[in-house]
Symmetry: C2
Subunit: 179 residues, 2 copies
């Protein structure tokens, strides 16, 4: 389907509550384990989503609206959350993500973007020309990519425990696809 | 990690609220679309989870406890939800799933399973000998496999909308792995 701003906002609104329902007070055996070296735990993923709220989505939307293609976006640091999450609990991160997401969506709604604005173009440091519409659709799919990742990395913890069922469980066949 | 019954129950407890937070009242453009012929929508997946609560997990656990390997499990019908979900709304299915899961977990807790019971063996019609421990671990990973599937099939709807970002979004590279 085509990008629909109201559908995007509907999805973006639900992610904090979805992660809260899934992860809050879950045993650390699920939330602090990863899939091996240089991979993330659910805790790391929530930190990454927080970093995106602070530095990626709305800041980039504003760059497109204010400067168009003349000012490339700042590159996004995929490992920044390790520092920012240090010493925090998963509950604190879930609260912080929910607060930042609510603020960003409030700001997005206030912009009341019209089709001609959604067609405005910006410059991604690696991908080149992108539109505001593509940026906002990507924000939503980025949430889904990390929900996909969390379900996979949690399932990985029971790879042995499921015994012969492992070949029936699609999530255990997923190669990761980078996140 | 090894199977831990309390960890399994923690995860199983959270799935209805997770799906509720993600899906309830979301536009049908997200919840009634699938990934193409013979694939499922989020609505279909919730119907499938309901069917599992009714016919798969606890019924099979009871077969192991009562009959061991002497009585093979009934084969599970992966397409049964099409009939059972007919005429229902997604909200009704979410309510039904939450109710059945709560009942099943209440029954599971009441069994107060001990390590020697978790080691008991049953017979899967296709996989052969399995243990009660493996069945219960699979119940949890089955939830995760369908959360993984829902995130992927929803992301699929925005495959075009994200433009050049599609190559960065892992969920859009996922081949499905059967579910």
């Amino acid at each position: 389907m085509q990008h629909d701003l109201q559908h995007t906002i509907s999805l973006l609104t639900r992610t904090p509550a979805t992660l809260d329902a899934l992860l809050r007070d879950l045993p650390q055996a699920w939330t602090f384990q990863n899939e091996g070296e240089k991979t993330w735990s659910a805790f790391d993923v929530v930190g990454h989503l927080i970093h995106g709220e602070r530095t990626d989505w709305m800041p980039r939307a504003k760059i497109i609206l204010e400067s168009g293609e003349s000012r490339p976006f700042e590159p996004f640091d995929r490992w920044a959350q390790a520092r920012a999450s240090q010493g925090k609990s998963l509950s604190q991160l879930l609260d912080e993500f929910a607060r930042l997401r609510a603020e960003n969506l409030s700001e997005l709604r206030a912009l009341d973007l019209q089709p001609e604005q959604l067609a405005l173009r910006g410059r991604h440091p690696a991908l080149g020309v992108v539109t505001l519409s593509e940026l906002l659709a990507t924000w939503a799919v980025h949430d889904l990519t990390h929900l996909h990742q969390i379900s996979r990395l949690m399932a990985h913890q029971y790879r042995e425990a499921v015994g012969p069922w492992n070949k029936y469980l699609g999530v255990l066949q997923c190669a990761g696809h980078s996140s």
